[in-house]
């Protein structure tokens, strides 16, 4: 299985482990992730208004560069922006027309690229049952909570990633790598997002509530797919602390390909 791969800026720096472990795990699973040449920032946030065209162009360029195949993302934010932009291209004529004008010189984009999260690849292409068979180092006995956050789930109609109110994909992933998933009610709520930059209190409030919820349900550690969630969960927790890892780190561990 060969996929185009869009790592995104944070995975080249602050979230290196998310990227490195993903690549190693992919290799172990017989998946080739081909990094898109010359990719640009996805835009970081999806502009929720119809007249923001330019801020979605770099996302379209990534879609264009993937040439109609499946484009794998790892970071929740990149996934969110790319998937919603791909949706807009096909659903919103106004956006498509204007964006196409900007991109005319670079050749066209036919709307065929499908944006998939690496978790979706594991669920839908590899299959969690198959993944389980390839685990050499099952994380038996570890009680792990999934922190979904917002961006992979909402809006459910566009992201179509999992049930936005009752997601199970990361829990199923946790099961596949041999650990025990622990569900808790705040797993699909906000981490505090970018507001943390200016209003630390808001982020602390969100994170404390989420961690309290996770610990109350019996989680010993959390995993996430989002560098922003990671930052907030680690840096802005005041009341409780829980170890937080990227999902790919545990995947690599279970597949026996993690260094050190």
């Amino acid at each position: 299985m060969i996929y185009s791969y869009y790592p995104g800026c944070t995975l080249k720096d602050r979230a290196k482990q998310l990227d490195i472990c993903a690549r190693k795990s992919a290799e172990a699973l017989g998946i080739t992730l081909q990094e898109l040449p010359n990719w640009q920032c996805c835009g970081a946030v999806y502009p929720q208004v119809t007249d923001e065209i330019a801020s979605r162009l770099s996302a379209v360029r990534a879609l264009q560069s993937a040439e109609g195949g499946k484009l794998v993302t790892m970071c929740s934010a990149c996934h969110h922006v790319l998937k919603r932009t791909a949706y807009d291209w096909n659903a919103d004529e106004n956006f498509r027309t204007k964006a196409a004008n900007y991109l005319a010189e670079d050749g066209g984009y036919d709307g065929a690229t499908e944006v998939v999260h690496f978790l979706e690849v594991l669920r839908d292409e590899v299959g969690f049952d198959e993944l389980k068979k390839k685990v050499v180092n099952p994380l038996t006995g570890r009680k792990i909570g999934a922190f979904y956050g917002c961006m992979v789930l909402r809006p459910g109609k566009v992201l179509a990633f999992d049930d936005p109110e009752n997601p199970t994909i990361i829990e199923d992933f946790i099961k596949a790598i041999g650990a025990t998933p622990v569900k808790y009610p705040y797993r699909n709520e906000c981490c505090g997002a970018y507001v943390a930059l200016e209003d630390k209190g808001s982020a602390e409030h969100q994170v404390d509530r989420a961690l309290n919820s996770a610990m109350d349900a019996g989680c010993d550690e959390l995993i996430t797919a989002c560098p922003l969630c990671m930052y907030n969960l680690v840096e802005n927790a005041t009341a409780h602390k829980l170890p937080v890892k990227y999902f790919t780190e545990l995947l690599a561990e279970a597949l026996g390909v993690k260094e050190g």
Partner: protein, 130 residues
């Protein structure tokens, strides 16, 4: 409605794609908002105030920078009003004005330490300035 308020209302409705008339005033958006207490105006008020043409108050409120863009109100609204999109529209209307950037690159060192991920900085800059 005076002319400016009318223009602002029309702009907010047009760029957000939100139809506040669909709102049945149930308050679910404000019931689900995780950052409610930090905000001066709450999600349901964004809908009601835009409908009433009171956009300038919203534009000048800190609330537009406190919405987490978590889309919980967008997902859970039973009438498909999607208040979060209105918050975004009002915020953009504010910062698109001349000299109305809320924060800029030079403000970053004040807030950011080395643990801050690039994604956060990018997101904040996209939210706070033109």
């Amino acid at each position: 409605m005076e002319n400016n308020a009318k223009f602002l209302t029309e702009t907010a409705l047009r760029i957000s794609g939100v139809n506040p008339r669909k709102c049945m005033k149930c308050g679910k958006c404000s019931g689900t908002c995780p950052n409610y207490d930090a905000m001066e105006y709450h999600p349901h008020q964004f809908v009601a105030m835009v409908e009433k043409g009171q956009i300038e108050k919203l534009m000048q409120s800190k609330s537009i920078y406190l919405c987490l863009s978590c889309m919980a109100c967008v997902e859970r609204c039973p009438r498909g009003v999607e208040p979060g999109k209105l918050v975004e529209a009002v915020r953009l209307m504010q910062i698109r004005q001349q000299d109305k950037n809320h924060k800029g690159a030079r403000d970053i060192p004040e807030f950011a330490d080395e643990s801050v991920p690039q994604q956060l900085l990018m997101a904040a800059m996209r939210k706070y300035r033109k």
